[in-house]
């Protein structure tokens, strides 16, 4: 086997036992790795409640990690989300993926519940579950500092995960996060604080010459992409560059999505952040894009989604509080998008958004589940709003807080949010790429025309990228065609772009089927009413009307038809069989 390491580990935290098994070649070829393999392997257990000790967590790498293929060191975690109750995968970028493979494993499956706070150490084939009382209660930064050793990579949770906050995250090496869906809470429910991995193995490649050629082709394409390599591209500015863009396109979520333009954007944008904190690049293993930006002290600067949700979404133009709340969310182990979304819902309900400094103090209140607001808001905006009788103020899909693109400014994104298998997420499909960023071509952002098929294809493409664990930003320069050539070079097994799209389709369909088994259907593929009833912030030149509901419904039905689902959004049996998704 080339690319894949051929082994996995299954660990039972209840008694600290483990089992090393062989990666099934057929499954690996059919689902690639990461998201796809995780969803496939856990599908039978997805009816278990998220905090039940029997609930497994999958943590997996992909076949390209550890090879020279650019931007391929992401890691995937699959579980059932306590926030959305859907099947949930989340990806983070960093060294863990490569270290896991160097230790000889493609993936881990973790079950059970440790009796005391514990951590897992993996060094080559030595695997140990050990108590870690001293780390329990510590923030992410001090946990990483305590466990850090040469050649190791660390996953850990902060206090929010320990207290099972519904949107608690898992950190990788203190730099990046498995942000969404509350994976950190599932770790907390298992008394799992951290995993440390190191290894000395290497990943074999079938055809190095051909891989070098693909790598060189990809580099040319990345260099030609203004979104990546341009003056304001991710390489130079980081994702924060998008803040000015969403504002100028009048699709920035402001005051809990009640407006789409924020006059104070110039006070909190990338240029201002750089002026105050400085800016330097942080590069993930093997990544030429280096989109992460750190300040001169070595702290991560807020990314676009975080800055937008901690800022305009909460009517906050205080750049220092945005910076501090972001740092504290990272240290406490909280998803900044869900935190920002929940706080905005709270602000609108009270008819008064909290101030910048109050926002920072709420990070701790929620992470520590402090009695009162802290404890109730830790459930996320959907449950909080329902409890307080204001469901309409929760800007969520399937319980997941919507990210920083207002759907009234990008109709493809509206459909993408609604049908996303893990809830309100911009990364299942990413129509913003063509609706706003004009790559590879521009589409009319105020039209549903053709969007049903486009969303389907993008979902397939992204599911495939999440399973190869290639960074999605790579797809904004190069494409799935180059990924297929890379996979062929690494594994020696012939794949073309259409094979990868077919695999992606299989994965999305399987996720949708798992959700349907848990009672999800068309009733859950819907956007908050606000978007159909209220306009965005228009100006003299650009009108932002409410979404046309009838057209949305028609496009949703087209999507179901193209995806192979019935009118209720449930996959048809014959489609499950023909796609190879299985049940």
């Amino acid at each position: 086997m080339k690319g894949w390491m051929g082994k996995f580990v299954e660990i039972d935290l209840t008694d600290g036992s483990f089992f090393i098994g062989k990666t099934d070649v057929d499954f690996a070829m059919k689902f690639l790795g990461g998201r796809g393999l995780g969803v496939f392997l856990l599908k039978k257990e997805m009816k278990i409640e998220p905090f039940d000790p029997r609930m497994p967590i999958f943590i997996g790498s992909g076949p390209l990690a550890g090879t020279p293929f650019p931007s391929s060191c992401r890691l995937s975690m699959v579980f059932r989300s306590p926030l959305t109750m859907t099947v949930f995968d989340t990806e983070a970028v960093g060294d863990f993926s490569v270290r896991l493979k160097q230790a000889g494993f493609d993936y881990l499956i973790i079950r059970g519940r440790a009796k005391v706070p514990s951590l897992i150490r993996i060094e080559n084939s030595r695997i140990k579950v050990e108590p870690c009382h001293a780390l329990w209660g510590k923030g992410v930064n001090s946990t990483v500092s305590s466990l850090n050793e040469r050649g190791a990579s660390i996953l850990c949770i902060g206090p929010a995960g320990e207290r099972m906050v519904s949107f608690a995250s898992v950190s990788m090496d203190g730099h990046t996060n498995f942000g969404r869906g509350g994976g950190g809470a599932v770790w907390g429910s298992k008394n799992l604080k951290a995993i440390v991995v190191k290894g000395r193995g290497k990943v074999d490649v079938a055809d190095c010459d051909s891989l070098n050629k693909v790598q060189s082709d990809i580099m040319k394409m990345l260099n030609a992409s203004p979104f990546l390599s341009g003056k304001s591209g991710l390489i130079n500015t980081g994702t924060l560059a998008l803040l000015d863009l969403t504002d100028s396109r009048r699709m920035m979520p402001v005051r809990n999505f009640s407006a789409t333009w924020f006059p104070e954007t110039g006070k909190i944008n990338a240029q201002e952040m750089k002026k105050i904190y400085g800016r330097r690049n942080y590069g993930c293993y093997g990544c030429p894009v280096k989109c992460k930006k750190f300040d001169l002290k070595g702290n991560p600067l807020p990314e676009f989604q975080s800055a937008s949700h901690l800022g305009p979404l909460n009517d906050n133009d205080d750049i220092r509080s945005i910076y501090e709340a972001n740092l504290l969310c990272n240290d406490m182990g909280l998803d900044t998008i869900s935190f920002g979304g929940t706080m905005a819902c709270y602000g609108e309900f009270r008819q008064k958004f909290v101030t910048g400094s109050q926002l920072v103090s709420f990070v701790r209140k929620i992470a520590m589940k402090e009695k009162g607001d802290g404890e109730s808001l830790a459930e996320g905006s959907a449950r909080w709003a329902e409890f307080n009788g204001c469901k309409e103020l929760s800007m969520t899909v399937k319980g997941l807080e919507l990210p920083a693109y207002d759907p009234r400014g990008a109709y493809g994104m509206a459909l993408g949010y609604a049908v996303s298998n893990r809830g309100g997420c911009h990364l299942r499909s990413y129509p913003v790429r063509h609706e706003i960023l004009r790559r590879p071509v521009a589409t009319n952002r105020f039209s549903f025309e053709g969007k049903a098929r486009i969303i389907k294809i993008e979902e397939d493409e992204n599911a495939s990228a999440d399973s190869l664990l290639v960074c999605k930003f790579l797809l904004y320069g190069a494409g799935i065609e180059e990924c297929a050539r890379g996979l062929t070079s690494v594994t020696g097994i012939s794949y073309d772009a259409q094979d990868l799209l077919r695999i992606g389709s299989r994965i999305v369909l399987l996720e949708r089927w798992i959700n349907a088994e848990n009672g999800f259907s068309k009733k859950d593929d819907k956007l908050p009413e606000r978007f159909f009833n209220e306009p965005g912030s228009s100006d003299d030149r650009l009108e932002i009307p409410p979404l046309p509901e009838e057209e949305f419904e028609l496009t949703l039905q087209k999507y179901y038809k193209i995806r192979g689902c019935n009118e209720n959004g449930v996959p048809r049996d014959e489609m499950m069989d023909s796609s190879g998704a299985g049940k």
Binding site: N223, S229, L245, L437, V441, G450, D499, K561
Partner: protein
């Protein structure tokens, strides 16, 4: 979808990329929309059963593109393009036979498009019909450049014996192609006179220049880019915008970096900025005139030099009186190195890519320069091969 299909059917024929009777344009959402010429009988729509795509175009190019396509793909099934754009986005261009259905499906599974020998070009898009159109146009542009570059390389740069053999076999075909080449106009159209004081004027002038340069056939896929500097702002065409459809596709980028709107500006914004800085001009126009590209590829020192022309060229080289620069000099991360001579010539040719020209007042100056450079390159080409 119907409107998209009709638009690109029209565009293919208006831009002389396809013969209407032999053109088929398809788009699919939950059902297939199509428009095809009377002579298209093959059911290309069956390809949707094999491919996860959103659009498909089959076209038969008119002369001389048809003969060029046949010549380039005569004995090979994989073409390596010479021009930078095609190298970057297409990598290579596959070719297969009309009666090889499996081969056509395989070709389209692996690549964005390709050549069906003796028949035409086929390409697809995963988002819109526009993508398929761009792929068709890029393939034809790449084949044109490849044909004339290879012909000159055989004619000028190989041994006399091989040259005679080659010439005897292919000269008749070449004459035929030459006969059908589109002539450049004797005079260039007049454009709005500058300088321009407000946003509306600037955008109107940019749209006019963009449209007219496309009409003269001086860009590939209607691409290229255009900018106008006004105070602290540069107005520049957005990335992936068609020069003949710039309405609503112009980005205003502040030069002091106070806003990051450059993220959707043309990928060549940095080159535009550097040209403005070096020359003091306020107007920049970039196009891909074919013979300028071809002549940039035909360096006289080719056989005596070990440098990779695409990365770096240590020699000063001029074509049609303007400097030729390696693309590598424009893609350095921290620095763009332009030749000093651009201050005087106000134009430069990027090796295998296209021409940048600038002006002080309005688009008349760079427009005229690009047309003149292309004329000189074309004359020089045919003189070089003694034709």
């Amino acid at each position: 979808m119907k409107a998209q299909v009709e638009k690109y059917f029209r565009k293919l024929t208006e831009r002389n990329l396809s013969v209407p009777e032999r053109t088929a344009v398809y788009a699919i959402d939950d059902e297939i929309f199509y428009m095809k010429g009377s002579n298209v009988v093959f059911p290309w729509e069956n390809l949707f059963d094999h491919l996860t795509i959103a659009s498909l175009i089959f076209c038969t190019p008119p002369e001389p593109l048809m003969t060029i396509m046949n010549e380039v793909t005569r004995d090979i099934s994989n073409i390596s393009p010479e021009d930078c754009e095609s190298q970057t986005y297409l990598h290579d261009i596959p070719a297969t036979d009309f009666d090889d259905w499996e081969g056509i499906v395989k070709m389209l599974k692996e690549r964005k498009g390709g050549v069906i020998k003796g028949c035409g070009v086929i390409a697809h898009g995963s988002i819109t019909v526009e993508q398929a159109f761009i792929n068709v146009s890029s393939i034809l542009h790449a084949l044109f450049i490849k044909y004339f570059t290879d012909f000159a390389l055989n004619e000028v740069f190989v041994s006399k014996k091989d040259r005679v053999k080659f010439k005897r076999k292919r000269l008749g075909v070449f004459e035929n192609i030459f006969k059908n080449l589109r002539a450049l106009p004797d005079s260039t159209p007049r454009l709005m006179c500058g300088t321009f004081e407000n946003k509306n004027e600037i955008e109107e002038a940019m749209q006019e220049a963009g449209e007219k340069i496309v009409n003269l056939g001086l860009v590939d896929s209607c691409f290229g880019n255009i900018s106008y500097r006004k105070g602290n702002d540069i107005y520049i065409s957005q990335t992936s915008s068609f020069l003949d459809e710039l309405n609503g596709c112009i980005e205003i980028v502040p030069l002091d970096g106070s806003k990051q709107t450059a993220i959707t500006a043309s990928s060549e914004l940095r080159v535009h900025l550097e040209i403005i800085k070096k020359t003091g001009c306020r107007v920049v126009l970039h196009a891909h005139p074919k013979f300028s590209v071809i002549m940039s590829l035909l360096c006289e020192k080719k056989n005596e030099c070990n440098f990779d022309c695409r990365n770096e060229c240590p020699k000063k080289r001029f074509v049609a009186g303007v400097p030729v620069i390696s693309p590598g000099m424009l893609s350095k991360k921290n620095q763009i190195i332009l030749p000093d001579e651009i201050r005087k010539t106000q134009s430069m040719i990027v090796f295998g890519h296209g021409v940048f020209s600038c002006g002080e007042m309005d688009f008349n100056e760079p427009f005229e320069k690009i047309v003149q450079i292309e004329k000189k390159c074309r004359d020089k080409y045919f003189k070089m091969i003694n034709f």
